[in-house]
């Protein structure tokens, strides 16, 4: 049974999404339990895969339809994508629990089955992108994930349809650029299988067409993951989407894109291609440095909490690119660890934004006065997420940043080191602006409270499932931080190519 898990983790949510939609005609209340059951099964599959990979110490190969590679499509799961699969499954499960009340408040009742169906399709795409070992299969699954993202974002508030249309245009350019890259590689090598390509490509290293194909890959995946110069679609689309949708897409989609970049640069292409042969790492480093500073400043300028977080994603993607651009073991460890950590951090921040939206009906930071009295738990979760993004131990963000910093020092890229440290400071300012508005009271209000006795503190009026999901995500951030040494030693060390 366990050898079928790599296929099951993709096929189960795909089939269940259609069953869920069919069941919803009969009984709408069954949708949510089906969603949770499916995602629970996916967690079991993902953990089973990770366990097998760690135990046998080498990748799992699954041949779809029994066709041997390089002719058939193959799913290959090694330490890197097993870890990403588990993280995607867990975060999707937590966000699914959270989403029930959030979408019931924000969307019309008739839209709920569509929402749950698209939720599962989205997860299908993400699992598929992560599990596949075939370049063209990756394109198709990338488009499945993107289609569900387009449709699910368009369900949002006023302006979301227009943002979704712009996302369609940019997303299609990205997908086409990726497909062009696949075409160039196919012309040169006649193969689409990643493992096969990794043997064939080193012989073609000085070929100019290979370089063009590589550039198309970077641009295509870069658009999908929202790296700095091609991120235009991201803030609008993720801000205007329903809060449960941005809590699903913001942590997962961009990070899975980062996984694809790592897979292409370090598995399909030999690492020496982008380190020794061409100055790819320097270019990426510059882009990331400019992007992080730009995104942090843009985030400072926002008064909308969710839009601020959206620019933060662009900055976080920059961190991952810095880890890649260091071009050494430490930096790549940091990048992979940051992919996992950032999924939890962004899930934390976007669920908090949704909860505040649920209770207060606003996302404007300057209207958050006295929020600590009415939403103490939500704000406590927010502080955990904020400390993690700033990089305070024992939250997980500290450890991945630590590895990133060590990586830049080892690579002697002082500019990147400076950007990492400076952006941490800007992040601190960014979050203290929110914390100040939410926790600290103006002086006159303080005097008033003294006259009228103690201020009244009430618990959050947010449904229990949202609260539990948020607390679990915050606990996940702390746990990931505490166990980061184990994760690095047992999983990530094996995920990094040996010749790096």
């Amino acid at each position: 049974m366990i050898e079928q898990f790599p296929a099951l983790i993709v096929v189960t949510p795909l089939i269940m999404s259609f069953i869920l939609f069919a069941v919803s005609w009969w009984n709408k209340r069954l949708c949510f339990p089906i969603l949770i059951l499916t995602l629970s099964a996916c967690i079991v599959f993902a953990i089973g895969i990770l366990d097998t990979v760690i135990k046998q110490g080498k990748p799992i190969h699954y041949y779809l339809g029994g066709w041997d590679p390089p002719w058939g499509i193959e799913y290959v799961i090694d330490h890197l994508n097993a870890l990403v699969l588990v993280a995607v499954a867990v975060v999707a499960w937590l966000v699914a629990i959270y989403s029930k009340s959030a979408v019931e408040k924000e969307l019309h009742e008739s839209k709920l089955p569509q929402f749950y169906t698209l939720f599962l399709l989205q997860v299908t795409g993400l699992f598929g992108i992560t599990a596949t070992g075939d370049m063209f299969n990756l394109y198709v699954l990338l488009e499945i994930a993107s289609f569900s993202a387009y449709a699910i974002i368009a369900m949002g508030e006023r302006g979301a349809d227009f943002a979704a249309f712009r996302y369609v245009i940019f997303g299609t350019i990205g997908a086409c650029a990726y497909l062009l890259g696949v075409g160039y590689l196919y012309i040169l090598t006649g193969s689409l299988n990643m493992a096969d390509l990794s043997h064939l490509i080193p012989k073609l290293f000085y070929n100019k067409a290979l370089l063009v194909g590589f550039a198309f890959f970077l641009v295509g995946v870069g658009i999908k993951m929202g790296i700095f110069p091609v991120h235009f679609w991201l803030p609008d689309a993720y801000t205007l989407a329903p809060s449960a949708v941005s809590a699903l897409l913001a942590p997962l989609f961009t990070k899975v894109g980062a996984y694809v970049i790592i897979r292409i640069m370090f598995t399909v292409f030999d690492p020496s291609f982008s380190i020794k042969l061409y100055p790819v790492m320097d270019i990426l480093g510059w882009i990331a440095a400019v992007g992080i500073i730009f995104a942090c400043i843009m985030a400072l300028a926002q008064s909308d909490l969710k839009r601020m977080f959206c620019y933060l994603i662009v900055a976080e993607m920059g961190y991952i690119v810095i880890g890649i651009a260091s071009g050494n073991r430490l930096g790549l460890t940091g990048a992979i660890l940051h992919i996992i950590n950032d999924m939890f951090m962004m899930a934390c921040l976007f669920t908090v934004a949704g909860a505040i939206m649920y209770q207060m009906g606003t996302r404007n930071i300057y209207e958050f006065r006295y929020l600590h009295r009415t939403m103490p738990i939500t704000l406590a979760v927010f502080v955990v997420g904020a400390l993690s993004v700033v990089g305070v131990p024992p939250a997980c963000g500290f450890f991945s940043k630590w590895y990133l910093i060590l990586g830049t020092i080892q690579a002697k890229k002082w500019l990147l080191l400076f950007v990492l440290l400076a952006s941490s400071l800007i992040n601190a300012v960014l979050f203290f602006r929110v914390i100040e508005n939410a926790y600290l009271e103006p002086r006159e209000a303080h005097a008033h409270a003294h006259n009228g006795g103690h201020p009244i503190v009430t618990l959050d009026r947010v449904p229990l499932n949202m609260l539990i999901a948020m607390i679990l995500i915050a606990a996940g951030i702390i746990l990931l931080g505490l166990f980061s040494g184990k994760i690095v030693m047992n999983i990530i060390d094996f995920a990094i190519p040996a010749n790096l």
Binding site: F136, V140, G159, V168
Partner: protein, 130 residues
Amino acid sequence: MWEVILSKYNYWIYAFMLMIGFYAMMAKNNLLKKLIGMNIFQWALIFYFISIGAKKGATVPIIPGVHGHHGAEHLVVHAADYVNPLPHVLMLTAIVVGVATTGIALALLIMIYRRYGTLEEDEIIEELKK
């Protein structure tokens, strides 16, 4: 100079079409025209893939007169006589992807037109600022 252009004319056509589509997507104000540009962009890619699979004087990769596994090993097959079908098969999938993208984009355009009464980008942005 002219030989380079003429001997590889399929690539020039595909690059030209890509540029037309890209220009329409970036520069046009009407959202439907942007969508048409997007379609041209995707179709340029499909032409490109199909043209790399084409071969003069070759035939479909089916070996006639051989059923099952018996006898196949006795037959001499010249790979040069057959067309590589893989790029064409890939494009069947890419066409489906393209149709799905167009479908989603058209549905979004209907939504946008119903809400704002226009498909001109600047007018929609004006409307959203209110």
